[in-house]
Subunit: 555 residues, 2 copies
């Protein structure tokens, strides 16, 4: 079998000016990064402002399972499919985090014949954006401890510093550390830790900013610590926002690459999908919408988390109007949602598919609550039987939604032409998009709205301390922020073992965090790991160079 | 007065293919990074192997003072001067570290009309090389703690892990830390710390490697820890060398930029000048020598440290033969070496210049010990008087060396034409270069040789523990490595207040460290800071963006 890497390496990439020309981007608006990557110059991006806006299509999915759904593959395939039927299309994806690639093999952007290239660079340093985010984040951290070291004029309570440090590396040893040991010249010892770079609020700020000025303002609003009287200390008070914006100036410019079939691909930004909103940058999406007639993008995890945050955080705040949503499903993943174990996925099991469709149906119904037209993409695997596929189609049709069979993994854009045609038809009428809750709803009611309407929970559990914290933030002027729920992606509930479409559960809030710069309140329900560890035998042990200095073991 | 930044911003940069063409580098050997930076493709670099080698000129200096000497400025000026008199010239410099720019204002590569551009990028992320070094370094660190977490099959003594972590940030809070707190899932708590990225042995390995294979072998040899029986544990045993080489694959390709006058400038690598050898990469220097007839490069600190390490580590190990050395001096710095305080530098003081020339004379005599022809470059300041300059000329001439007055700071390459002519004349005869000591001399004798012959110390003090350590390393096969002394740059002695040309002092060895991957033994004499801190009012507080989003406050 031909591997993703073999396919990617066999591809002949088109010169970047040729890719740009498909969207009428002049060559002098491109800043090259290597031969197969470019950034769009900030001035060019700013100049797009007055233009008409294309149609925005969100690719989301049923609740994920270890069987795999293929959201990125479908995003790429749909983009290529739209190009093939003569539409001016672009796709928007997140950048990959470097660190995790050295833990588990993986990484690739898409798969089979629906990939974005250059694959190796995208899974390593790419255009350096994440390193810039890390540098900006850690500059702020250094300035906080430095401020305290030199006299603490802001009266920061060193026990209440919420700003940690970041590295783009899976390093469990850094989760929980004590810093500033070693005596007077090294500052005041205190407990803190590192998160992985994609968990940085700087990353979320970068991804929600309209431009560099907006970015600096967001950075300035980040709450980094509290005083003894519980009043917040911001990044702007530390004086780090300007220097951080300088460090992020290049990183904010959207990256342009290409699919295997030459569709322009904006790959930019990569916030965590749990404690952040999990979508590519607003600036890339906005630019793509001004340049293309159809822009296909994806959100992290299943639709309960990814699509909800895409709509309620990104679209709400950036003023985006999504024209359609694609819910990706596979027969295999539906079977797992229907109770089949991974080892037993080989055998036909129409009943399990039907049972698993409860999960699909719930996601379809949820999308409709945002006023967005829906289509289901069945990402076909070779072993899927006709009867299993028919079961998925029937389930979708019962809700008035079409399920389109897609074979982009094995056939590229040609395998997603039918989906592309459906999207064109579906987006002819203007979207009735509206967020799920209004800005001015109290924070706890926003949480309850998401829990009951999207997760089908019967109630939300939050202790008094959490309720008080939410009220304090409302009093401090943060009450109009949207909610960013961090919970397991494997279930509508907070219990990862409850597959399918559970109802009547309680959503237990463990902790709430304020991301005042990014502009949301994070509601943590369950264990959320913000610094992964390496497995017993990390992929790094087998990653290396062959005799021709080509990279091996990374994919 | 026009600032360095104003001059750099007013410059019209030539397209990179035009710069490359000056050295007959074909456009397809260039990998663009932004518009004004490029890397030379590894295949092209490898193909240079059989070519003839140009002449290598080292720019070094008298013992540095707060008055400033202008080594980088002279390197740039001489390169431009050689270009102006019709020679095919290139310069080789180190990359700048990002972190320190947020502490103290500064950074610029050169100054006045003798600068390398693009200045802003060179003082920020440049081509991402240092971020790659940091990622490779920290991957190894994560894998060490991960190895212990999963059972410690290599029987590493967790108290004897010498491999720390790195960040390109001035962050004193990270100097001395305890990691792996928080319980079973986070590993075994232990004390460690972070250094700044330029202090990483990975950086030294990158800078001393011939090619990617050599780099991976060096990385594999790095000693990261010891067992209870004191036997070393290497990076290769951890299994990180392959993945680290993958992370450094792009970074190893030399960077090409340009001077204000369009002379090709290779700016690549940047190891610390104290615990490492302080020169740009071997691969950049070798490439430049195959492409240009004259290659001007510089080494860190004064000639006692920088030039000695350049000759005894870089040239010895890379098989380079330097054709000449330029010792840069300023009247101001000579006055300070002659006992004048910085505040009193404004007044003419010929006697102080003459006294300070003891320092210059010592450095000149030292260069001759390596068999390298010497010229003195007087980097002129406006306030220098004719009599003061005459005193410098006389001192040099008394040693049979010419001192050439240079005005490249205010006039660019035209101000260094006389120096360039002198260099051409001086390098007509083949160099008699030889390192100071043979490979097979015992380590302690190598140290004594440097101390007595270069520093004019009367003896070396090392306690029994250090002597035993050196003998252990000799027994383990590391006896043939050269020595890398880390001591103050302000004096020939280990006492920074002893300016001029002190003799008869004792060189006290505080600690010795093995850099088995880079290939040298570090001898630490005095306090060496490998993680700087931020000052009370860091430059970061005033670094920002103006209304046109241009960077302010960085220079």
């Amino acid at each position: 079998m031909t591997s993703d890497l073999d396919i990617a390496r066999a591809a002949t990439l088109r010169p970047m000016p040729e890719i740009a020309a498909k969207l009428d981007i002049p060559e002098d608006a491109l800043i090259p990064y290597g031969r197969d990557k470019a950034k769009l110059e900030a001035e060019f991006v700013a100049g797009l402002d007055g233009r008409e806006t294309g149609k925005l299509i969100l690719v989301t999915a049923i609740s994920p399972t270890p069987a795999g759904e293929g959201k990125t593959t479908t995003t790429v395939g749909l983009g290529d499919g739209l190009s093939r039927i003569g539409k001016r299309a672009a796709i928007c994806l997140r950048e990959a985090s470097l660190g995790p690639n050295f833990g588990m093999k993986g990484g690739a952007a898409g798969g089979g014949y629906a990939q974005v290239v250059p694959m190796e660079s995208m899974n390593l340093h790419f255009t350096g954006d994440f390193h810039a985010v890390g540098a900006a984040h850690n500059l702020l951290a250094a300035m906080i401890d430095n401020h305290i070291h030199w006299g603490n004029a802001l009266e920061i309570d060193a026990r209440r510093i919420t700003w940690r440090r970041v590295l783009d590396m899976n390093d469990r040893a850094l989760r929980d550390i004590v810093v500033s040991l070693g005596g007077v010249s090294n500052g005041f010892p205190r407990q803190t830790g590192f998160d992985i770079t994609v968990a940085s609020e700087v990353m979320a700020c970068l991804c929600l900013s309209r431009d560099l000025t907006d970015l600096q303002e967001r950075l300035g609003r980040i709450v980094v610590a509290y005083r003894r009287d519980r009043s917040p200390v911001t990044c702007a008070e530390i004086g780090a926002d300007g220097a951080m914006a300088v460090l992020l100036k290049e990183a904010l410019q959207p990256n342009l690459v290409q699919t295997l079939e030459g569709t322009p691909a904006f790959v930019h930004g990569g916030p965590f999908a749990n404690i952040a909103h999990g979508c590519n940058s607003v600036i890339a999406t906005q630019s793509a919408l001004k340049l293309a007639d159809y822009v296909v993008t994806e959100a992290g995890f299943g639709a309960d988390l990814g699509a909800e945050k895409f709509f309620d955080i990104k679209c709400r705040k950036a003023g985006l109007t999504p024209s359609a949503a694609v819910v990706v499903a596979t027969v295999r993943a539906l079977k797992m949602n229907g109770g089949v174990a991974k080892a037993d996925l080989g055998a036909e099991d129409v009943a399990a598919v039907e049972a698993g469709c409860a999960n699909l149906n719930r996601h379809i119904a949820n999308m409709k609550k945002f006023g967005v037209p829906v289509v289901v993409a069945i990402n076909r695997f070779t072993a899927d039987t006709e009867d299993e596929i028919a079961a998925v189609r029937a389930a979708a049709e019962a809700q008035g939604v079409e399920a389109v069979l897609c074979t982009h993994w094995s056939e590229g854009g040609a395998g997603a032409e039918a989906l592309a045609e459906k999207i064109v038809a579906l987006t002819e009428r203007p979207s009735q998009f509206a967020p799920l809750y209004p800005d001015d709803m109290p924070l706890i009611e926003k949480i309850e709205t998401i829990a009951t309407r999207i997760y089908h929970a019967s109630d939300v559990y939050a202790d008094q301390k959490i309720l008080n914290q939410l009220r304090d933030w409302e009093a401090a002027g943060y009450g109009n922020l949207p909610i960013c729920v961090a919970k397991t992606q494997y279930s509508f509930s907070a219990d990862p073992t409850l597959r399918g479409a559970p109802s009547g559960h309680t959503l237990p809030i463990r902790e709430v965090r304020l991301s005042a710069g990014a502009g949301f309140v994070v509601v943590i329900c369950g264990e959320i790991m913000t610094m992964p560890g390496l497995p017993r035998h990390p992929a790094a042990e087998t990653i290396g160079l062959d005799a021709d200095c080509r990279i091996t073991g990374l994919f």
